[in-house]
Symmetry: C2
Subunit: 402 residues, 2 copies
């Protein structure tokens, strides 16, 4: 070994909301670690850090390449996921288990909460004097990790959202009315913005797009819809689940009272149609002419399908795989810790590369849509956003019209 690589087992965990390609990263790590001299075993932790403290591991080195390739193209976390946020006591338990099994390499695939988990474990292992090399592999459909052009998982979710809006735009054109679709994305509007990729003609929806990066004002919302509906006779609207008022309070939280919170303090936004229904009802009430018939208003909340529908983007699959492999490679080249990040080299033709960031540069930080991606009116995306997102999602079906 060219470096002072400590010999030991590797543990891989998956964390946070699953994606369509999170298993590509898992398989990327496993395939790249196989045969490395320093690696005495490759363990998959069931349900992230939770499986680590409970000693629930699967021997991934025993898996055939055929099995791994099938796992790679399967959506959602094959090892199971977790939303636990380890504190010092939790981490000490992890180290106990790691020591027993001589685990020296820790790979954690997840979003910003998970990168923070990775950072905490890294720091506590230093404090505990336990030599552990910690690498974070990015994953989030929200696309909100700093230092990344985009994150694995986002292109596939964006592909689903674009195709869903393409179909829903045709549906709305055929039976005209006001249709509101709620899209995932807690603090960042990237996924909601991807609805714009559905457009092929000027009159295609979504006609209005509401991202969390702009304060949401119900009165303005009604006026926007009224304007579009009056001129086009229909209106398709994309709304992020994470829209908040000027004070930064989630509209969905205001509406339903104090919602459920997870260990990271995140309010539950998904898994409920309440925000869409509330907005639809508001529009129906406000836009019903005096003594007249209410407009046809419907709301759909795309929900968990956005992160697990089995139709991943090809680029996403390849990049998620490469990100996993990169983490294993830098670990084997002697690096002690870091977070893998995708950098864009060019959009035409699309080309990306991977680099390694410091864990502290990524952990628990949130990237938002840059201003140049949102139009001045605040309810549409710019050509720059389209140029950014279009290469990621892969080919979309063409629409025929008569």
């Amino acid at each position: 070994m060219p470096f002072d690589l400590i010999q030991g087992a590797a543990v891989i965990g998956q964390s946070g909301g699953p994606t369509a390609v999170i298993n590509q990263s898992l398989v990327g790590v496993v395939e790249a670690l196989r045969g490395a001299d320093a690696i005495t075993g490759i363990l998959g932790a069931r349900n992230g850090v939770r499986g680590m403290i409970e000693g629930r591991f699967v021997d991934l080195s025993a898996c055939s390449s055929e099995t791994l390739e099938q796992v790679a193209i399967t959506p959602s976390a094959a090892l199971g996921s977790s939303r636990d946020k380890p504190d010092r006591a939790y981490c000490e338990k992890i180290f106990e288990v790691f020591e027993q099994r001589n685990v020296r390499y820790f790979f954690y695939i997840g979003g910003n909460d998970s990168s923070d988990t990775c950072r905490i474990i890294n720091e506590l292992s230093d404090d505990a004097g336990y030599e552990l090399r910690c690498f974070h592999i990015p994953k989030t459909i929200d696309n909100d990790l700093v230092g990344n052009d985009h994150t694995p998982g986002y292109p596939s979710a964006a592909r689903f959202v674009a195709k869903a809006f393409m179909g829903d735009n045709l549906d709305n054109a055929s039976l005209p009315g006001i249709k509101i679709d709620i899209v995932m994305g807690r603090h960042a509007g990237f996924l909601t913005a991807a609805s714009a990729l559905a457009r092929q003609r000027d009159d295609d929806g979504p006609h209005l797009i509401y991202c969390p990066e702009r304060p949401f004002d119900p009165e303005r919302f009604i006026a926007d819809i009224d304007r579009v509906y009056s001129s086009k006779g229909r209106c398709l609207v994309a709304v992020s689940e994470g829209i908040a008022n000027a004070e930064g309070e989630f509209i969905s939280a205001m509406m339903s009272g104090a919602g459920e919170k997870d260990a990271h303090g995140n309010v539950q936004l998904s898994g409920s149609g309440a925000l869409g229904d509330w907005l639809a009802n508001l529009v129906k009430i406000e836009l019903t002419p005096k003594g007249g018939k209410p407009p046809r208003v419907r709301a759909d909340t795309f929900g968990y399908l956005q992160r697990c529908y089995p139709d991943a983007s090809d680029i996403d699959q390849a990049e998620a795989r490469a990100a996993g492999a990169k983490a294993a490679e830098v670990a084997m080249s002697g690096d002690k810790d870091g977070s893998i990040a995708i950098q864009r080299i060019s959009s035409h033709p699309y080309k990306s590369a991977l680099k390694v960031l410091k864990l502290t540069d990524v952990a628990a930080k949130t990237k938002h849509m840059p201003d140049e991606f949102i139009t001045d009116c605040g309810t549409n995306v710019t050509d720059k956003f389209i140029e950014y997102a279009k290469p990621l999602v892969g080919a979309l079906p063409a629409v025929g019209r008569v």
Copy 2:
């Protein structure tokens, strides 16, 4: 001409909720009518009967084959749809327009309400002494037309539901909890039952399936979920939007008060997440242990994506096309009216044929899931249903596991 075929124009309309393959039927009619001696023009009515009384037509004979082929694979009604239910006065207006344009062939693509529209226009044209040949081409994701093995539109919607449950089952396995998914289907459970096609292993969800064919009892529902959740630590549930109590009242209508109704008297069930949220809340309240933490309960309502997501089943595309062509062929062979129906010849290998039913045999009737498709416990489907539905949806992705 071998028969006494009246010379005139043909009008084609699309009606009711659109599907992913309704345009295949449209193109099937157009292509089969082209060049027929009796046909002086092929008109597409915008928004079904509504466009007919308003004289909004598009000249389909002017469309290139290339355009038509692109339209054929595009989801949702390319001509626009309608939910109008013509009465005598409405039909007289239609005849006026038809007479002006010498329309003698009427093709209407739609579900059971639309077949009834077709029947009414047919009877009123007889009464009015206006020679008009009326053909109904089946379409409905609900799959509830009598006399049909299944209806165009259902296989593609079933494919979406199966893939959605496949992904959601993996999501639920990775972050365990109770997940309720609401599936379209006003009176028939065929689409909800298609969720079972997602299963590849014994422990895969959906673990419980609630169709409108069995009375829905909230207490029983809670007990069912409790049993599954206690033994598996998770529970994925498929619920039809059309579930009703023993008195036949929609649960969603009881819950939200009197809902919106369309011209056919149908209560609005889709375009709202209220039923799923109500059920999820009920489960959360009932299954929270005294002084303990509530279980993780989420609900998604698949909504309009089920009928318009651009990923149609191959068999569905071919059969919808053939059903349109068949209607044109029987019209050109001298038949006066009828409704096209798919008959199954065999499941292994899958083979179907088309026949012509009387309009009165199909119109405004509803087919339900046969008893042999539902297990005795009422919360699962039988192998017979799987054998019935599996060939229709096309290949589904295989799942890899570690």
